[in-house]
Assembly symmetry: C2
DNA sequence: CATAAGGGCAACCTCCTGGTTGCCCTTATC
DNA sequence: GATAAGGGCAACCAGGAGGTTGCCCTTATG
């Protein structure tokens, strides 16, 4: 994993960022002003959240004219899935060992 | 979702908690002392992390004699997967729409 | 060209988080 | 029964997170 898994989870561990990401996951790039509109947050607050998402690799930005366009970046999602899978796998293995033991 | 998705992610957004959970996902219950051993953390620090995991529903505790036993609880993992799936789904839909548009 | 819109930077504030320490209670154990 | 082991509770602390405001710069637009 390029970015630490924990910081990936941490990036998602905030209501505002989660909704920003959900919005962006429709594939459309948006400017900071565009993402701030409809929020009760300052443009600066949104900017900070976007930077955090960007550092986690969940979002990518590019300047277009005077605007900063932010786009969803799905790759890290796979890292998270990988972690969840490993945890679930361990859990399932434990269960089936237990079952085998009981049925013996 | 019973527990807010963001707080679920937040619970996982910490190295220590992530490793506690990973340890517990092997199906074995462990006491606080057991989980603290081998860590450079205080028992109290570990306790706090466990409480957070417990509030997120990722872990469940029960007193056995003088010990508090903590066990992994897999249910919330599905909530997280559900969120990731919805995001990925939106993304994939956007991609296929784009593809259709381009190939037209 | 004057003005508005989009943003960046930095300072500042408050509250939460992660962690510690000290003390006390309860349950095992010798 | 004395002592050790496992924990809970509360106070405390430093640093980070989330948010705001003010100011300035750049790019569109009338």
């Amino acid at each position: 994993m390029s970015v630490e898994t924990a910081s990936l989870f941490a990036a998602l561990g905030d209501r505002t960022r989660l909704s920003l990401l959900t919005k962006l996951s429709d594939g459309q790039s948006r400017s900071i002003a565009g993402l701030s509109a409809g929020t009760d947050l300052t443009r600066q607050a949104v900017t900070k959240h976007l930077r955090i998402l960007e550092e986690a690799g969940l979002v990518i930005s590019s300047k277009v004219g005077r605007e900063s366009q932010f786009a969803f970046r799905p790759e890290p999602i796979d890292d998270i899935r990988a972690y969840l899978d490993s945890v679930s796998q361990q859990w399932d293995d434990a269960l089936s060992r237990l079952r085998t033991f009981v049925e013996r």
